[in-house]
Amino acid sequence: MEADRTIDCVGLYCPMPIVRTAQAIKEMEPGQVLELLADDPGVRSDMPAWAEKTGNEFLGIEEVGGEIKVYVRKAVS
């Protein structure tokens, strides 16, 4: 998936991937896609929960080996 910005949270645990995501999204333009790289299995559930709560769009997860890639689109409204 094409992303406008990527943040690397490999090796970081809850709540850091969520906090870093929130910080990154704040700096991005509406409609842009953020890619989060992580290896904490908690992000599989935490990222959709964060997106739902904040009104941003959870686009999906890709997993290759132990690396988890999460995609989120910044809310337009």
Binding site: C14, P15, I18, V19, Q23
Partner: protein
């Protein structure tokens, strides 16, 4: 540092009653996650929980002898807190800090700095302060010095309210 809360945001309140390092870590983990989820977060520090936001001064000031002694035994500051379990004269706490560093988990000090960056508000309980002989000068940045009615007013509007 004064933080201005968003009145329309969903809100969360935490009561930090304990001065245990593990409990403080859990409280700030939730505070940081809540703030990252767009929630307004207020933390009410009361009883031993005041140690988390103390500067750690040892001077007697206006305190009675009892209050001064209590202050020396509970000097506080985030770096001096101990685990509620397995402290083992500080060995357990040191080991836990080592593990957290190894796994790149933020220390309590780092979590607290992050919380302030994210606009988490601190409220100090004035009743506990009076009992312990503490004044505003004994604390790091605090947004409000208040009592139970202030907490309950916030909690009645909050969707997540926890006693830690």
């Amino acid at each position: 540092m004064e933080t201005v809360p968003d009145e329309n945001a969903e809100s969360m309140t935490l009561i930090v009653f304990s001065d245990a390092l593990d409990r403080a870590l859990a409280a700030f983990n939730l505070a940081n996650t809540g703030a990252a989820m767009g929630m307004r977060v207020d933390i009410f520090f009361t009883f031993w929980g005041l140690s988390v936001i103390k500067k750690g001064g040892m001077e007697r000031g206006e305190r009675s002898f009892m209050q001064w002694m209590m202050g020396l035994m509970k000097r506080g500051t985030p770096g001096r807190l101990k685990l509620s379990e397995m402290n083992m004269m500080g060995l357990g706490t040191g080991a836990m800090k080592g593990l957290m560093k190894k796994y790149r988990m933020p220390s309590l000090e780092e979590s607290m700095a992050l919380a302030r960056e994210q606009g988490v508000r601190y409220i100090a309980c004035t009743t506990s302060m009076a009992m312990m002989g503490l004044t505003e000068d004994d604390f790091i940045e605090v947004d409000e010095y208040a009592g139970a009615a202030t907490y309950l007013s916030l909690a009645s509007k909050g969707s997540v309210n926890l006693f830690i």
